[in-house]
Amino acid sequence: MRIRDPERVSAAIRSLGRGRSLDALVDRLYDLTEGAVSLDRATLHRIARGRTRVARAIDTPEDCVRLYFALMILGCDQDLDIATVVEEGRAVLAGFIGEPLATLIFADLERTLPKLGDVRTLREYLEEGLRVWLPK
């Protein structure tokens, strides 16, 4: 997949990881997505540093959506506030698949967010979102 805005995606990944090592991020992403997003360390390092426009292992829009949910779960794990998780999550999604498709996916979160109430419930929503987007 070609990343449209590498610098913004890089900043979002670093923000959602909140100082966590990139190796730890790779492992957590692999666990969260049950192996469906198997970013290799070298690729994630390059993405996180904004050094590449091509993300191996993220080949389809579905992969992008899975990465979006997984990274936002990571943000919740790191005790980031809801606004940051949402903003950075959107940046990741838009950076990968572009605004039009990202808006479609993101519209659901924007509609749902006011009804979820707290970060714990948001995390459950993201986990369930990831589940329904995992390969069958």
């Binding site: 659901d108 006011p114 109430g117 714990r120 419930t121 369930e128 589940r131 329904v132």
Partner: protein, 204 residues
């Protein structure tokens, strides 16, 4: 989903637990909705849909909800799916009381379907076979008002306690009344948890 589900209908019986399990299986096998419980402080439940209409959907219910509440919520979700409210990439949330709900009209339509199914007026045969038979009119009338509903539930719980206190239950089980009382307790518990179900009784 429901706007009036309460946490008041406890304790639940093992029979209600069984009904909940059967409805959960029905949701998964027939409706394509997988269910799990989680600690949801901000909402009572939500249904997440995937990218395509046929993708399995995920329902998350608050772990603190009773079996009676879940019975109602599962029926409510089945109604949403029957009405095709489960459009791809759209989440249906059952909010906590007091939270603004822009989807209130959507939920009201689903509730109308649930009432029809609950009182045996609609629904596919497989679903109706899982539910208690429609109750006699006097019992439905008693379920209309909160006071009579509560008293009826207390009376039925008392009868249940007496039943389990009696030695030769096999004799009582042969009497049709035992089953009728058991079903009355199911129905009353669920209507206590979701009082909006009683509205249908008002019109009959």
């Amino acid at each position: 989903m429901a706007t009036e589900v309460t946490l008041a209908a406890r304790p639940d019986s093992a029979t209600l637990h069984l009904l909940e399990e059967r409805l959960r299986e029905y949701l998964e096998d027939r409706v394509g909705v997988r269910t799990r419980a989680a600690d949801l402080r901000g909402a009572r439940a939500f249904l997440v849909s995937g990218a395509r209409p046929d993708d399995p959907k995920g329902l998350v219910v608050d772990r603190a909800s009773s079996h009676a509440e879940r019975v109602y919520l599962y029926l409510h979700v089945a109604a949403h799916v029957a009405l095709r409210h489960d459009v791809p990439v759209m989440t249906i949330v059952e909010p906590r009381p007091g939270t603004p709900d822009p989807d209130a009209e959507l939920h009201e339509r689903a509730e109308s379907v649930v009432r029809q199914v609950w009182w045996g007026r609609a629904g596919e045969r497989e679903l109706r076979a899982l539910l208690p038979r429609p109750l006699a009119r006097p019992l439905r009338l008693a379920l209309r008002l909160p006071l009579t509903r509560g008293l009826l539930r207390l009376a039925l719980l008392g009868l249940r306690r007496a039943y389990y206190g009696v030695g030769p239950r096999a004799v009582l089980d042969r009497i049709g009344l035992t089953r009728a009382f058991r079903e009355a307790l199911w129905v009353t518990s669920v209507v206590c948890a979701a009082p909006q179900l009683a509205r249908e009784a008002r019109r009959t």
